[in-house]
């Protein structure tokens, strides 16, 4: 009994130590000039894409709906956080209030997530996909038609507040929050909707509540990712958040594997880095990348890590239950 408790604990400390070490590296390496600006940028995009992929996976992978409007939530986070740092708060405060600004951007996106969750009570599958698609188009059109925030020309003037360390911290927060959520009763409620919504209702799952939770959490993190994105690029315009951007995130979700955080981390990293590596191919990289996806879908339809999770992401209690069951 004693041994059982100490093993996961030690493992936990080891993981924590490693994560803190990486945090220091993420601060130090750019400062010492070991990571050049290009590499920093790629790493930040990988991180932002990981956040987007995990958050979309909650709705598409864990809950089994098909949302194709993730960029819409991202846009809301990007615009709200940019407006806050440029127009509302004094520029000198920027670095200090940046986390708060990101959270506010996330909350604004979460509010939009709530609005999209409401039609999901009555609609599902392909029809809900159309609803999310329409939502994405509405967001883009609205942004294009508000002149105060630049309209179709876009919005700029943000300081470069996002750095490798902040992206890293938000990736950790996303992984931590969504992993914990998935391994809870609420998370299991979301899984049960994917498996059989009617049966879920009939074993006491409040599916409306579960859907709201999934959409709100998912869009919150998409909004945060949007805020990070806006403060890397220092320029956003409505065309950055079209259905094409949403499709990119979808590709990363299905490449990595549905219903898996490990898969999302892998999918986002591989796809982002691959497209960078293929840059010398010019336009052809848009053929090679997707072609790999086709091959993967044919040979491994569930993606790299579909419906599975790396051991270190599974809570110790769950692993323990595993051990007692197989003995």
């Amino acid at each position: 009994m004693k041994r059982r408790h100490t093993v996961p604990l030690q493992r936990g400390w080891l993981v924590a130590l490693l994560l803190v070490l990486i945090l220091f590296l993420s601060i130090l390496l750019p400062q010492l000039g070991i990571l050049n600006l290009y590499l920093q940028q790629v790493i930040m995009y990988v991180g932002i894409n990981i956040i987007l992929t995990i958050s979309l996976n909650l709705v598409n992978g864990y809950m089994g709906e098909f949302s194709v409007g993730h960029a819409g939530f991202m846009a809301i986070g990007a615009y709200v956080s940019s407006l806050l740092t440029v127009l509302v708060f004094p520029r000198s405060l920027g670095p200090f209030i940046f986390p708060l600004v990101l959270v506010l951007g996330g909350l604004a996106a979460a509010l939009a997530g709530l609005m999209v969750a409401l039609p999901s009570f009555k609609t599902r599958g392909d029809y809900l996909a159309i609803v999310t698609l329409a939502f994405n188009m509405i967001i883009k059109s609205v942004l294009e038609n508000i002149d105060a925030i630049g309209g179709p020309r876009g919005f700029m003037g943000m300081s470069k507040l996002t750095n490798v360390a902040w992206v890293y911290i938000w990736v950790l927060l996303t992984v931590f929050a969504i992993r914990n959520f998935v391994f809870s009763s609420y998370g299991r409620g979301i899984l049960s909707i994917r498996e059989d919504e009617v049966a879920a209702e009939l074993v006491s799952v409040n599916t409306r509540q579960a859907k709201i939770l999934a959409f709100v959490i998912s869009s919150f993190f998409a909004g945060v990712a949007g805020g990070l994105f806006a403060h890397v690029l220092q320029f956003i315009n409505p065309r950055s958040f079209t259905i094409l951007k949403s499709t990119d995130v979808l590709v990363m979700v299905y490449l990595g594997g549905i219903g898996s955080i490990t898969g999302s981390i892998l999918g986002a990293s591989i796809y982002t880095v691959l497209l960078e590596l293929l840059r010398p191919l010019g336009v052809w990289r848009w053929v090679v990348g997707p072609l790999m996806l086709v091959i993967l879908m044919v040979t491994r339809p569930r993606g790299i890590f579909g419906l599975r999770e790396a051991r270190w992401l599974i809570p110790a209690e769950e692993v323990q239950a595993d051990a007692t069951a197989t003995s």
Partner: protein
């Protein structure tokens, strides 16, 4: 006071009368069977009681609550549970998760503490897991806890569905053709199981079944439906020789 009181229940699918003027009073602890030919409206009655469909007419009272208009999960929370004609397990989830999901509405912690996995969260989750494992043990499914539901043998899947239903702690259990697809040996064990859970969990049970052996063997009262109408009700003996029942099953002329 009856535990369940169904009064004048009718349901139409467009112009089709699926159930008409269905009445049923059940005292706590009773075991009532509903039989009838295919398409007689038996499963529709279950769907009406559990809120999957909203009745066109009629009232459903359970334990002093009016169930009409409630969402299914709210009805389940009042103490009704059911199984399905065709198995509807959460196939790609573990056997343990299948049962734990049925504790969804009883969870005491907020979504916030599920983000942080607080101590309170841990305590509650431990309770849920232990209860689920205990229930699986009772149903001889303990060794399958981590297996995916879809990988269980058929009979085990049927048992798991009953275990999952009981995890919601019902007072009234609706069993929809539990013996479908079972061989005689399995049917015999199923009958024993139903009798046993009825005593052990102090259940009131409504049973839809085609296998006459099961219905005649364990039901105290039987209600026969045909084309949505109740054509006979009474003790198994009375039903067996009721002319309208024979007519519904075998056709005119035989009776």
């Amino acid at each position: 006071m009856p535990l369940l009181q169904v009064k004048g229940l009718s349901h139409y699918f467009g112009g089709l009368k699926a159930v008409s003027d269905f009445n049923l009073d059940m005292e706590p602890g009773e075991l009532v069977g509903i039989i009838g030919p295919n398409g007689a409206g038996k499963t529709t009655v279950f769907n009406l009681i559990t809120g999957v469909y909203r009745p066109t007419e009629g009232q459903i009272w359970f334990n002093g609550h009016n169930l009409v208009g409630l969402q299914p999960h709210q009805i389940i929370n009042k103490g009704i549970a059911r199984t399905f004609q065709t198995i509807r397990l959460f196939k790609d989830l573990s056997v343990l998760d299948n049962v734990r999901i049925a504790r969804y509405s009883q969870v005491q912690y907020s979504p916030w503490s599920s983000f942080l996995h607080t101590r309170w969260f841990g305590e509650e989750e431990r309770k849920i897991r232990e209860e689920a494992l205990r229930l699986l043990g009772i149903f001889n499914l303990g060794s399958y806890a981590q297996a995916l539901a879809k990988n269980l043998p058929y009979g085990e899947q049927r048992r798991l569905e009953i275990a999952r239903a009981l995890a919601t702690k019902p007072r009234l259990l609706l069993l929809d053709e539990p013996a479908a697809g079972m061989n005689p040996g399995e049917i015999k064990r199923l009958m024993e199981l139903i009798q046993w859970i009825r005593r052990e969990f102090e259940l009131t049970i409504i049973l839809i079944e085609h296998q006459m052996r099961v219905v005649m063997g364990i039901c105290e009262r039987i209600q026969v439906l045909d084309f949505g109408e109740t054509i006979a009700e009474g003790k198994p003996k009375e039903i067996q020789n009721h002319p309208r029942v024979l007519e519904a099953y075998l056709g005119k002329g035989v009776a």
